[in-house]
Amino acid sequence: MGQSQTAADKVITIEKLTKSFGTHQVLSGFDLELSRGESIVVLGRSGSGKSVLIKCLIGLHMPDSGSVNVLGNNMLALDQAELDKVRARVGFLFQGNALYDSMTVRENLEFPMRRHMSGVTPADADKRVRETLAHVGLEDTIDMMPAELSGGMQKRIALARTLILHPEIILYDEPTTGLDPITAREISSLMNHTKQTYNTSSIIISHDMKCVEQTADNVAVLVDGRCHALAPYQELARSSDNKVRQFFD
């Protein structure tokens, strides 16, 4: 990134975020800022709280303390209607895709549109669905059920559903987990293509180092519930810090 950022450029600001489940402290004072157009990969071991972190950002988990500001909104002080408005501007790609398995691909993509775009005509909806499917390269699957698609195709459809409302921010929860190396590389490329096409900012949760290298502007290393290090990939790759090195060795 290199250049100075003003407060207005920050699309997500997380300060001193803490979250625990029972006696297990998952996040203990996590700080992070995401600038417009930036992609930050949060790197951490399994069970270190990466998914909990992005679920706190979108209101799926309520933090114990700290503050989360998304697109100028204090997420912890919003009522349900305000929260839904912010959620329409933030896409979330789930680790297991979370496609509605009782709906076709078309219905999966139309579902968020019906919630947030009340005036859209069926023709406009169809056009938008087809455009978004074309972006992920799966126009032909429009009338198929999720169960008929491969894992990689399901991931692309899930990304298409995330993109259907043209979000300003996308939160990716382990987007390449469970995919073969070739498909994982294709998904990483698609994420970069999406960033350029839709001008999105993103927080990506991953421990797939190929994906991290391919998609990250900056890498945040989550250790002991805190942001232990934040720097570009190449800089962290040269780090002598053992807590950072364990991910690169």
Binding site: L60, R87, V90, Q95, L99, D101
Partner: protein, 240 residues
């Protein structure tokens, strides 16, 4: 559980109303259950008639067979058996479906897409079970009585018209209304238990199976408890 029920009542009257999903659930829960409910109702009426005939013959009151069977079906057997069949099919289905959606994060996906999953998934299903079970019970009772009519005619001869004249001369408003009202409570309990078990499912696929199983067991037990309470209440009100 009480919080879940309280949330249901706080959400059910508040917009946005998921009318399309409610109609779809009425179709899935009501219409698609009709063949099963119809077949069990028919067999129930037929078998009950065949079983009662020897006993009534021994007392010389065989002519009262249509009256005995219709009273038994309308007041007790019809509502309870229909509710138990309905619980087996619907409560387990809801428990498994919502449980599966829970563990595959589909409910979370619904929430981040700006949909209230409780309203979309729970309220519509509970409303549908509450509304559809009384309708299915009335249909099941009617089919049972037709089964009974055939049963009467296996070893005798009664015209359909005469059979139903006998039945409706005996049945009173007080027989039908309390029995129908209790199916509203049965339907509510079946939907609520199925949704509660599914919505709070955890521990992966094992948890989904457990939710489906628990939904059937608990809702079946609740049917008998509600039945016991309604009999006491209607007795106190002088409707029995």
């Amino acid at each position: 559980m009480s919080r879940f029920v309280f949330r249901y009542f706080s959400e059910v009257f508040r917009p946005r109303y998921e009318v399309g999903q409610f109609i779809r659930q009425c179709y899935v829960i009501g219409y698609l259950s009709l063949p099963l409910i119809g077949i069990t109702g028919f067999i129930m009426g037929l078998v009950l008639t065949m079983q009662l005939r020897p006993s009534l013959m021994s007392y010389g009151v065989e002519a009262q067979l249509p009256v005995m069977v219709s009273l038994a079906i309308v007041r007790e057997i019809g509502p309870v058996i229909t509710a138990l069949i309905f619980a087996g099919k619907i409560s387990s289905g809801i428990g498994a479906e919502l449980g599966s959606m829970k563990v595959t994060e589909q409910i979370d996906a619904m929430e981040v897409s700006g949909t209230n999953p409780f309203k979309y998934l729970v309220v519509t299903r509970v409303l549908a079970t509450t509304l559809m079970l009384p309708v299915l019970t009335i249909l099941s009772d009617a089919i049972s009585m037709y089964g009974s009519y055939l049963g009467v005619n296996i070893k005798g001869h009664t015209s359909l018209q005469l059979y139903f004249i006998q039945v409706f001369q005996t049945l009173h408003f007080g027989d039908i209304l309390p029995a129908t009202i209790k199916t509203v409570f049965f339907g509510f309990a079946i939907g609520m238990i199925g949704c509660y078990k599914g919505y709070n499912s955890s521990k992966g696929t094992e948890g989904v199976g457990r939710s489906a199983n628990a939904a059937v067991v608990v809702s079946s037990l609740l049917i008998f408890i509600i039945d016991l309470i309604t009999v006491q209440v209607t007795d106190l009100l002088g409707l029995n």
